[in-house]
């Protein structure tokens, strides 16, 4: 692996990052009082912005989830109710379990269809082929589109009277189907459009990773008589571990973040309930139930913490050394 590079002219490789401790200490001795203030400000201002607008609300979500407050009147109207919100959520709130189920379906489709397809396409595009830029561009294009636009394009295809799908089916005598209004169909059809985007995203991340794989590994496998499939699963896939982790985490996080398409189609109701739309509907609806909405947000937080911690422990591990 990498030898001690201090003093050598080579650029510091990533991961090794900062110089050895002795060097660090020497440098910090060179810092004047003013320099230290500047450093504190350079880090302090961005950290303050981020903590104030991201982490303070996160902690507030947790705190508010144990209270009852309808948002009217001052903060003194907040009443502590213990775990009541969670109890109601699990036992009597009708859309909660459907939302969990829909988030899991979303994750399943991403994990078992969209992500593997993206990886498969990346592997194909990694071969030296003509027109690879065209193929990449076409597959990647949906990723640059706003989900608002994807939602509208989905409606061009799926609306009952004017949609393309019913138009084509109608030519074969099939009666119009209410794709977006039928609560047992709509989740699956919008997942097609969500996957349309996810495949390209995974493809581009994976392709970049594949480009970084040492070509001699593949050649060695070829010399040993391995087939292409064997080479991928036994040689390439294992050395791609860091990228595999990133792709896995992105797949899980994107499934938890699923929101926009469902919200655009019908505000996340009638078959399209997701944890994210439940939270949103509880605060921007007519009745703002802040404690209750926060409890749903905390459920989302708890589920998200797992993959986030997993990711951090993997990617930041070498920094800790």
């Amino acid at each position: 692996m990498t030898a001690d590079v201090s003093g050598s002219a080579a650029p510091t490789p990533p991961g090794v990052g900062a110089a050895p401790a002795s060097k660090k200490k020497r440098r910090s001795l060179l810092l004047t009082r003013r320099d230290k203030w500047i450093l504190a400000l350079l880090l302090g201002i961005p950290a303050a912005v981020h903590i104030f607008l991201v982490w303070v609300p996160t902690l507030a979500s947790v705190a508010l989830s144990f209270t009852s407050w309808n948002g009217i009147g001052g903060l003194d109207r907040i009443k502590f109710v213990g775990i009541d919100n969670y109890r109601v959520l699990i036992t009597t709130y009708p859309p909660f379990w459907p939302a969990i189920q829909h988030n899991l379906i979303w994750l399943g489709v991403f994990l078992f269809i969209a992500t593997p397809l993206g990886i498969f396409l990346a592997v194909l595009l990694d071969k030296e082929i003509r027109g690879t830029r065209f193929y990449q561009g076409a597959l990647y294009l949906p990723v640059v589109l706003s989900l608002a636009i994807i939602g509208f394009i989905a409606q061009l295809f799926l609306s009952t009277d004017q949609g393309l799908v019913n138009g084509v089916l109608g030519a074969f005598g099939v009666k119009p189907v209410d794709w977006l209004g039928n609560s047992s169909l709509n989740l699956w059809v919008i997942l097609i459009f969500a996957s349309w985007r996810q495949v390209g995203y995974v493809m581009i991340l994976y392709l970049a990773g594949l480009k970084g794989v040492d070509p001699t590994l593949r050649e060695a496998a070829k010399v040993d008589g391995a087939t292409e499939v064997q080479t991928f699963f036994r040689v390439v896939f294992p050395v791609m571990k860091p990228i595999n982790i990133v792709v896995l985490v992105i797949t899980v996080i994107e499934s938890l973040r699923a929101f926009d398409l469902a919200f655009i189609i019908n505000r996340g109701t009638n078959g399209l309930e997701l944890l994210s739309t439940l939270v949103t509907n509880n605060i921007i609806g007519e009745a703002s139930r802040i404690g209750f909405g926060s409890a749903i947000a905390v459920v989302l937080l708890v589920v998200a913490v797992g993959p986030i911690v997993f990711y951090l422990s993997r990617t930041l591990r070498e920094e800790a050394r």
Binding site: L42, V49, V54, V144, L205, S276
Partner: protein
């Protein structure tokens, strides 16, 4: 060739054509995928060029009738799109600028100086970036209704963070800071130490090193992040939906809704609107495909 027995030659030929066929199959498959992937946009484009009366008469699955830009004109004027584009611009430009400024400051300290809480901050920024936004929106919404701003001023016309460009810009900056700090600090770690050390020897202050040495060196990473962040902030409609109330302040992505009538949807008009709104990001993508992809991959791979 004459030395090769017919049997061997036969095998050789078969193998060769076998390879060629697999290439052809690969191209056919990839081409088919590309067509399937482009089809939704091409269909939107096709529909947007047809007058509603023609599709009502002939059906959407048809060829014929007239083709023109009538829907585009209508979307622009009826949908008042130019003013929504301006709203988006008012948010995107300061948000991207401030995000990169603040992220470069934090990344500079985190990547270059021994700092006791170095790892903690990096974790905080990265984790914050991965959180689903809905985790924070309930308290955030309340905070924006309670936090004061000087009013009337350029920052706020109602004295609050709520329903103001300032508030939407602030949340974009706070959220995107995580990703950009992570990318920039990784990038800075790959830069050679020598230039910084030479500057230290020359007696440069920390701020001079940041401003004069570091900023020029991270320009490639900035280029990638500008492309990526501009696209992301442009594409967002969630924060505006949540934190804005006035319809006339909404960004272009939310304005698509205005093209749908209350009782009647003109799909051709909606298609034209979708194409208009998609056009800027598609142009950015085709013009700066390299930066776009390198920005994403800088964030996912180390260094």
């Amino acid at each position: 060739m004459t030395a090769v027995s017919p049997e061997v030659a036969n095998v050789y030929v078969r193998k060769k054509t076998g390879i060629r066929w697999s290439r052809v199959a690969l191209h056919v498959f990839l081409f088919a995928m590309a067509v399937v992937w482009l089809f939704p946009l091409l269909y939107a484009l096709y529909t947007s060029l047809r007058p509603y009366a023609d599709t009502a008469r002939l059906g959407y699955v048809s060829i014929g009738g007239s083709y023109n830009f009538g829907n585009y004109e209508k979307a622009f004027t009826d949908g008042n799109l130019p003013s929504y584009f301006l709203n988006t611009l008012i948010v995107v430009v300061p948000a991207v600028f401030l995000t990169l400024l603040l992220a470069s400051m934090a990344a500079f300290v985190l990547s270059r100086y021994s700092w006791r809480f170095n790892l903690l901050f990096l974790m905080l920024f990265t984790a914050g970036n991965l959180l689903p936004p809905q985790v924070i929106i309930t308290p955030l919404f309340r905070m924006f209704l309670l936090l004061p701003l000087p009013s009337p001023s350029i920052l706020s016309d109602n004295g609050l963070w709520y329903d103001q460009y300032f508030g939407v810009i602030a949340i974009h900056v706070a959220f995107q800071l995580g990703f950009c700090t992570f990318v920039l600090s990784n990038y800075m770690k790959t830069l050679p130490q020598e230039m910084v050390e030479a500057a230290v020897v020359d007696g440069a202050s920390v701020f001079q090193i940041y401003r004069k040495v570091m900023m020029p060196l991270v320009r490639p990473a900035f280029a990638a992040l500008v492309v990526l962040e501009t696209t992301w902030v442009y594409n967002d409609f969630f924060w505006a939906l949540l934190l804005m109330k006035s319809g006339e302040k909404m960004p272009i992505t939310s304005a698509l809704n205005n093209l749908k009538g209350a009782f009647f949807v003109d799909n051709n008009l909606v298609a034209a609107g979708a194409i208009i709104v998609a056009l800027p990001t598609m142009i950015v993508f085709f013009a700066a495909q390299k930066q776009f992809i390198s920005g994403l991959t800088l964030g996912s791979t180390k260094g």
